[in-house]
Symmetry: C2
Subunit: 230 residues, 2 copies
DNA sequence: CCAATAAGATAATTATAGCTATTTTTTAGG
DNA sequence: CCTAAAAAATAGCTATAATTATCTTATTGG
């Protein structure tokens, strides 16, 4: 039986793989969109992916679903992203960036220049509220945080961000706690960053207790650093 | 063209669904294995699932792969577990149980009956080391923790455990910190449990710094609780 | 307004995932 | 040692995931 020659199957076969290769994948975006229409598509893919994470979760998220919701077809999506993980990576990069920016601005604007424990708690708390805000505003923010944990390549994105933030904090702390070893201070910044991130996740999950989570985490972290002075 | 009647396709069709329904699934185990052989199969499925999580990650984990590695066929697996998530849930249940047991034993054996801050730090540190140990011994322990975050139904398992542990801690703390409100103490136990869990994940991910992570987390948590005395 | 290029649509392909009806083999109790 | 129940194997099915070759439509710089 000869090949059926329909309008779009001219005897050459497609080469879908059915499953993405999770290792060895290129994760960077492809063509940067130049036209306005394309920029909209690009952004729509990202924001819809975030929305879908909230609606259907990570397991049910698929490129086909994203396309359907965005009103585009797969080739349009694959013009910008080489694969599904690249979309998630872009989301991860962006979320980390907005979170990092909050912390960096906080440090640069003197968030660490505090005296009393009470001041430190309050300053810390303000920073955490800022991080919570940008995360809540981010489409699917909490889900992006979770997904980053289960995809090794995205975990690296997160760790890079953690290190960036921890370094920034370290820089500001170094002068403040001169008699604490470099190593200890580095460990401390990493741990408190992680604890803060966990608290943010909890706060989004249980909005009713969000205030309490921020309050207590601020107390915990500030009290901890304060103990370095002794 | 008539149906091909091979040895096992007798004209009735199978009814595979191709994708699991992530919502609305039964997650409990089915037949409890009675024969020894069956118990081995049951345990093999669980421990191999843990191993595979480490080897290939969550995304590549599939029932077919588990079967292949366990030397069984899908129907054997599906005799015990109604679907893939039930396997993960059993792993989650078990990991939470061994972790919880460490904490409960620690409380019951007087882990909270400490006086000085130094004693509290040391006691806390012993408990965390215990939790780290059982988690490291658990096949795929760190991965199970991660996976629980991205599958809502498993997240519930984790939250139930958190609440159990937090309640146990709360019980012990209630007497120790009489002038702290119930609500605040509950928030505190939940947050410190979460922070501890994050630290365990970090410790497994970066074994070289595991000691430091436990040390500092103990300090952070103990210092925080200690501040309640003021 | 037209050519070049960007953006998107059509229509499939392949792989593999989850799962199962049915038959065969083990196991263990009488 | 024989038989009923338990356990596992045979051999698939169906759905859907990711992805693509090719063609068409929009956009824009000249």
């Amino acid at each position: 039986m000869p090949d059926k020659m329909t309008a779009n199957n001219r005897g050459k076969t497609g080469r879908g793989r059915g499953q993405a290769m999770v290792d060895d994948v290129e994760l960077n975006t492809k063509t940067e969109p130049s036209q306005d229409r394309a920029k909209n598509t690009f952004e729509a893919i990202l924001s819809i992916t975030g929305d879908l994470l909230v609606e259907v979760g990570f397991e049910r998220l698929s490129t086909n679903l994203i396309c359907k919701r965005a009103g585009i077809t797969p080739p349009a999506l694959y013009r910008y992203f080489p694969n599904k993980y690249a979309i998630l990576k872009e989301l991860g990069d962006r979320l980390m960036k907005v979170q990092d920016d909050v912390v960096i601005k906080w440090v640069d604007s003197g968030g660490l220049d505090t005296g009393s424990l009470e001041e430190e708690i309050a300053s810390n708390r303000r920073m955490m509220a800022g991080v919570l805000d940008v995360t809540k505003d981010f489409p699917g923010g909490a889900w992006v945080l979770r997904v980053m944990r289960v995809i090794p390549l995205l975990r690296e994105v997160q760790m890079e961000s953690r290190i960036l933030v921890a370094d920034k904090l370290y820089e500001g702390m170094r002068a403040k706690y001169p008699n604490v070893s470099d190593e200890r201070l580095q460990t401390a910044t990493l741990l408190t960053t992680d604890a803060g991130s966990s608290a943010i996740e909890l706060a989004i999950e249980e909005p009713d207790r969000a205030e309490a989570f921020l309050d207590e985490t601020s107390v915990m972290v500030a009290t901890y650093y304060h103990s370095f002075l002794k």
